[in-house]
Amino acid sequence: MAEVTLEVPALLSDATDGATRLSLSADRLSTALVELRQRWPVLATHVLNDAGELRPHVLLLLNGQCTRWLTTPDADLSPGDRLTILQAVSGG
């Protein structure tokens, strides 16, 4: 298991007791999402839709790269990796 950082928008910090930087242990992206759901279920509601997928206007970045475009969707995680939850640009 790798210790990784999860960055959360301030707008959602009332789902994480005020924290905008969280730590979690996971070896892959999919297991990071499992831990997110288990430890912060309200945050998971904001990030994932009813089917368990990222909401349409939500991005998950791995070390600054959008996970939607990774060549390996369920990428391995390394110690010190940084996951960032981000609202996609949703203007006109």
Binding site: D14, A15, A44, D50, A51, R55, Q87, A88
Partner: protein
């Protein structure tokens, strides 16, 4: 905060609270949660600092929020937990439309889109879907109204905790007498609406709002989606009453300028308040005249109060954007989809515009303390 009355306004962009000070002036607090849509609001008649709201966001989805300090801090709950795969049961959860507390304060109900009813017996910490409703045999034929397939009205019989009614657009009324185990459609006397697209004669009624008469258990009032089919000369009736617990409905809209509208309010004395809009095509005040209509005799006759005399207003009022408080004479409040907010302190005989122009008003609630 010192207040003799609290007016809560949920909008497209946040919650706004107004305090009524001794002397009668309203003072607006700073905007609360302006990044979030507030679609449902529940005040506590015993505690002006206790607020519950249904919030949503185009990116982040819906949750229920609660504050015990007048909106300074909030906690969140979800209506349903995700399973090990991250999937939630039930239909898609798009919005929280209604929050209601039982008369004894022990039970909370939430109405949501897509239409479902949730119940909490622990003050909103956890919720269970009332599955008897969504497993009704008519469910496959439920069709959405303009606001979506929403369960927007929850009425609790103050004399019987097992008896409640819900309203779903564009489906109709369902009632239960066994605490939600079984439900029956209760639309007798309402115009059937083939235009809902539903093939089910038990599920083709676009009701907009219902209220209970506070003095007569089992007496309900309804604002209905009065409509006109191609080739019809007249719109259907739009305001109805039932005096037998929603078993039968009859129209009470003689003399109204228009029969279409969304909100309906009832005062402690039983006065009715509606806001007719011009048909289901444009849904704005008739001839641009902002007006509230009042009945003091259960809908046998109606009196109009023009709210902004001489100023054309081509706005509408959404189904939860009117509130009637427990004062005598009643306070009546409403907000428009253009963000104007009006208050009456003489049971709807005159209105004044509050000094604020807000985002689109979704829900208005009022309490006196």
């Amino acid at each position: 905060m010192s207040t003799t009355g609290l007016l809560g306004v949920g909008t497209r962009k946040g919650l706004f609270l107004f305090d009524r000070k001794p002397g009668g002036d309203w003072a607006m607090r700073d905007p609360i949660l302006p990044e979030w849509e507030v679609n449902a609001l529940l005040l506590n008649s015993n505690d002006p600092d206790h607020l519950m709201i249904g919030t949503s966001h185009w990116s982040w989805g819906p949750t229920i929020r609660e504050s015990r300090d007048g909106g300074k801090t909030w906690s969140q709950t979800t209506l349903r937990d995700k399973d090990a795969d991250g999937k939630a049961g039930g239909g898609p959860l798009k919005s929280i439309w209604q929050l209601v507390r039982s008369p004894d304060g022990q039970t909370l109900y939430a109405g949501v889109e897509e239409a479902a009813l949730y119940k909490s017996d622990d003050g909103g910490q956890s919720w269970d879907e009332v599955e008897g409703l969504t497993k009704h045999e008519s469910r496959p034929h439920w069709q959405p109204g303009g606001g979506g397939l929403c369960l927007h009205t929850i009425l609790l019989d103050p004399t019987d905790p097992n008896r409640l009614w819900v309203g779903i657009s564009a489906v109709g009324v369902f009632g239960t007498v066994d605490g939600g185990e079984t439900w029956a459609p209760m639309n007798e006397g309402l115009p059937k609406m083939d235009s809902t697209g539903s093939p089910d004669e038990n599920a083709m009624f676009c009701i907009h709002k219902m209220q209970l008469d506070p003095n007569q258990p089992g007496k309900l009032y309804m604002q209905f989606h009065a409509y006109k089919m191609p080739g019809d000369d007249q719109r259907t009736s739009g305001v109805f009453v039932s005096e037998d617990g929603a078993q039968n409905w009859r129209a009470i809209d003689n003399g109204l300028a228009d029969r279409f509208g969304f909100p309906l309010g009832v005062s402690k004395k039983g006065e009715l308040f509606i806001i007719p809009l011009h048909g289901d095509e444009d849904r704005t005040f008739t001839n641009g005249e902002a007006a509230v209509w009042r009945s003091e005799n259960g809908g046998n006759s109606w009196q109009k109060t023009v709210v902004l005399d001489g100023e054309p207003v081509y706005a509408g009022v959404l189904r939860d954007a009117m509130a009637v408080d427990q004062s005598e004479p009643a306070g009546v409040y409403f907000g428009t989809n253009m963000g104007d907010l009006f208050a009456s302190h003489d049971a709807g005989r005159s209105f004044a515009r509050l000094n604020a122009r807000l985002p689109r008003v979704h829900v208005v609630r009022a309490e006196v303390y």
